[in-house]
């Protein structure tokens, strides 16, 4: 029969909106519709699962859709759960469309039990059982009560091997992650059975046997059975071991691209050895990597064993280089402040060139070595539609690489100190290291400005400029020892001579004027008497450094060495030279723990006419960044005050510092790239090779037994305002007049 309706009305709606009904009730008004369309329409409305019943009534040309809404869930009450928290269970239910306020669709009840049971079976609780009831709370709303009996975890009671004549059950069981539940532990995840884990274990067992040459090894069958009370699981693995095979001969085939003997070198197996799958995998990997360097990133090598019945095997290495691959585009993402060029100039892989896996990987290390990034990831997706081109995408996450320090302090002798400074290793993302510090107090005004551009030319020639000015006025301060005014400038250049080593030249000039306070120190007085109180010097220096650290900041692997020398050339008031050697060496234990060795040596002395190093160029030791546990710059020879004041540290011309640190992870800290905790042992001191003739408490010569040692805990945190260093340390062999500090911290000091 044919009908024409010019109006549509819905009755029985309580909470579902009319538009929702119209959108799933496809009946066009004022058009011919037959009874079949009506049936179809009401079926599709019924399938929404929102209604218990859909009836159509006709009143003249008005079509009335009478619906009976299914109840909506007011609350879901879950009881009896302990091992899985209620929120987790509710989340699981929400995923299968079951949460408060939703309409309870017909199929969901059984879905509830299924979903919760799957969650418990996932935890190995096979004996869990779930019952659901509906409790009406009036006005077509219901509560869903879920009763859970969690039962216990089914643990593995026994793993039995049959057919293992060569190796006994214990050796084989060690290869498994699944383990028999040790009776002393109440719960060990290893003893919780799951089929994927078993498959993984069987694979490990196969590899272990293949690693020992049992090429014919095979797992015939496995039986897994569970006890009636569903608490104990028994696993039986039936194997045939076969015989260990030795290598008869290794042959190469396919397109080798590089010289055959170069490949033969990479092969770890030689005729006569017992076959070892691990060695074979290492060999194919080494060859694949070597071909990667030639641009064949998608080369693959498989070794085809050919078994002979005298328990020997001929291995044929089939080399398939695939097509030479090119890099289409290199993209960077995550560099919110760092300029694209700063990254692009650092990497050695070129766009539109052959893709070299080696270059791509060591470019990642070079980016990490910049110290601007928390982490660097690289992936090389294929270009769609083109089989020999890839893109290289580097994803970085930036970390604060500088420090903003502003300080207002007060100290008795220099009054209120205003200080402000910025030290940005990646200034505005330009890759240039810019530092600008100014501080003013009653006694000292200090200003220094430094700029260092590592890529003055694209080949890596770096250039640094440093200007400093310091002026102190002493009228109204009772500075005991001495004070200096100084200003100067220094320019430095450097360029790479190998992949990781650089060489450099520094040129500088500075002027120092010395003041003596009201109770000056003998050494200063004699120095001024001999040499005068105003010295300017022209310095020429050079350095050679090799940086193989794995990360710019907070490294955990690799080594860093720097040897530098500087000479105040003749024509300067004081002629002297300084020689310094700096070494860092890391031995990673695993990806969380690492041992860091540190050595800093310095030797400076006058030459030519004045054989004494000016005291304002002395080395100091002690404090953070040097020998922790001793107060800053307090170690080494002491000055001889004119009155009977207590002597203060005067420094020395030989610096010896060393230390060993164990870097360990704080278990609750995930992001270890910006926070590092260490247990350390520091040692060091400064010595005078030749004391000033008037000094009384200065022992000449380097006496290593005088090295001061301390041990303790250190923490470095790369905060947004700059690196914060804390250390708690115990001085081990402080002498009577050393002043030690148990707790030391510093803000914004980059070392």
């Amino acid at each position: 029969a044919q009908y024409v309706f010019d109006d549509l009305r819905v009755e029985g709606l309580q909470r579902v909106s009319a538009s929702r009904v119209f959108s799933s009730f496809p009946i066009e008004l004022r058009q011919q519709v037959d009874s079949q369309d009506l049936v179809e329409a009401s079926k599709s409305l019924f399938e929404t699962g929102l209604f218990d019943d859909v009836r159509l009534e006709r009143d003249g040309s008005l079509l009335i859709v009478v619906v009976q809404e299914r109840p909506a869930i007011d609350k879901i009450v879950i009881t009896g759960n302990d091992k899985i928290k209620t929120e987790q269970l509710e989340q699981g239910l929400a995923q299968s469309g079951l949460k408060a306020g939703q309409i309870l669709q017909r199929v969901t009840l059984e879905q509830v039990e299924l979903e919760l049971e799957r969650m418990y079976h996932g935890l190995g609780r096979y004996s869990a059982s779930i019952k659901t009831e509906i409790e009406s709370v009036g006005e077509n709303r219901i509560n869903l009560n879920v009763k859970i009996r969690e039962g216990d975890v089914a643990t593995i009671r026994h793993i039995n091997f049959t057919g293992n004549d060569r190796f006994d059950n214990e050796t084989l069981a060690k290869r498994f992650e699944l383990e028999v539940k040790p009776n002393w532990s109440l719960f060990s995840s290893g003893s919780q059975y799951s089929r994927p884990k078993l498959q993984g274990d069987l694979e490990r067992l196969r590899n272990w046997y293949l690693g020992r040459g049992y090429l014919k090894f095979n797992v015939d069958s496995t039986q897994v059975s569970i006890s009636p009370d569903r608490l104990d699981v028994y696993i039986t693995v039936n194997v045939t071991e076969g015989e260990p095979y030795s290598i008869r001969e290794i042959k190469l085939s396919g397109e080798l691209i590089i010289e055959p003997d170069e490949i033969l070198e990479l092969i770890e197996l030689s005729p006569g050895d017992t076959f070892s799958r691990t060695k074979m995998v290492n060999t194919t990997e080494a060859i694949r990597k070597r071909l990667g360097e030639e641009g064949f990133t998608f080369a693959n090598i498989n070794a085809v064993p050919e078994l002979h019945d005298d328990q020997t095997v001929t291995l044929t290495l089939m080399v398939d280089p695939g097509r030479r691959t090119y890099v289409r585009r290199i993209n960077f993402s995550g560099n919110v402040t760092t300029k694209d060029e700063v990254l692009r100039r650092e990497i050695t892989q070129m766009e539109a060139g052959t893709a070299s896996t080696d270059a791509i990987k060591n470019s990642k290390t070079r980016l990490e070595r910049l110290g601007y990034f928390k982490f660097v990831q690289v992936d090389t997706p294929r270009v769609s539609g083109v089989d020999d081109q890839i893109d290289v995408n580097y994803t970085v996450e930036e970390q604060p690489s500088g420090s903003l320090s502003a300080s207002i302090g007060y100290s008795q002798n220099s009054g209120i100190i205003f200080g402000a400074g910025v030290q940005q290793a990646n200034f505005l993302g330009s890759g240039t290291n810019v530092g600008f510090n100014v501080s003013r107090s009653d006694t000292v005004q200090k200003l220094d400005f430094s700029i260092f551009d590592p890529y003055y030319t694209l080949d890596g020639v770096s250039r640094g400029i440093n200007v400093f000015y310091q002026e102190s006025n002493l009228e109204d301060s009772d500075i005991s020892g001495f004070a200096t005014d100084s200003y100067g400038m220094k320019v430095s250049f450097g360029y790479p001579i190998t992949e990781t080593a650089r060489v450099g030249l520094t040129l500088g000039a500075d002027n120092t004027r010395i003041y003596t306070g009201d109770d000056p120190v003998e050494e200063v007085l004699t120095f001024i008497a001999d040499e005068g109180d105003n010295h300017s010097a022209f310095k020429v220096g050079g350095y050679i450094s090799d940086n193989q650290l794995n990360r710019g900041v907070m490294a955990t692997d690799g080594s860093y060495n720097k040897l530098s020398a500087e000479v105040a050339v003749p024509g300067s008031d004081m002629t002297f030279f300084t020689l310094e050697y700096k070494n860092r060496y890391f031995i990673p234990i695993n990806d969380d723990y690492s041992v860091k060795f540190r050595t800093d040596l310095g030797y400076a002395d006058g030459y030519g006419s004045d054989s004494l190093l000016p005291f304002y160029e002395h080395y100091f030791a002690g404090g953070l960044g040097s020998v922790r546990g001793y107060s800053g710059n307090s170690l080494g020879p002491k000055s001889t005050p004119t009155d009977d004041d207590d002597p203060s540290a005067f420094g020395g011309n030989v610096l010896v510092e060393t230390g060993v640190e164990l870097i360990y992870p704080l278990w609750f800290v995930e992001d270890r790239s910006s926070l590092q905790t260490v247990v350390f042992l520091d040692g060091g001191n400064v010595f005078m090779t030749e004391c000033s003739r008037v000094s009384t408490n200065c022992a000449e010569g380097v006496d290593l037994s005088e090295l001061r040692w301390s041990a303790g805990l250190g923490l470095t945190w790369l905060s947004p305002i700059g690196p914060l260093d804390f250390s708690i340390s115990k001085a081990l062999n402080a002498s009577s007049d050393d002043d030690t500090e148990f707790f030391q911290f510093s803000i914004g000091q980059t070392f």
């Binding site: 030479r324 060139g353 890596g460």
Partner: protein, 86 residues
């Protein structure tokens, strides 16, 4: 002078073309056949869509350059002209 030279890496650009690949090129090949032999061109000319330039250019640490260019001209998908420089 006593300073060691600035360390430079070997720089490599464009596509490696062996003689054996080039000898397989002869007029009449379709673009797909050329791609099979030479690989996809890294820099097909945009100005003149019928011309594919295969360029190889590399500079060793002492700045001496080796270079090779093969440009192929097509006429409605058929290779008509091959010119190879050095």
């Amino acid at each position: 002078c006593i300073f060691p030279g600035v360390y430079k890496r070997e720089l490599q650009q464009g596509q490696v073309m062996t003689d054996e690949m080039i000898n397989q090129l002869q007029p009449g090949l379709t673009r797909e056949q050329v791609v099979y032999v030479m690989g996809n061109p890294l820099t097909p000319s945009t100005i003149n869509p019928n011309r594919w330039d295969y360029i190889y250019w590399s500079k060793d640490p002492r700045d001496n350059v080796t270079q090779q260019k093969v440009s192929l001209v097509f006429d409605n998908n058929r290779l008509v002209e091959i010119n190879k420089t050095p």
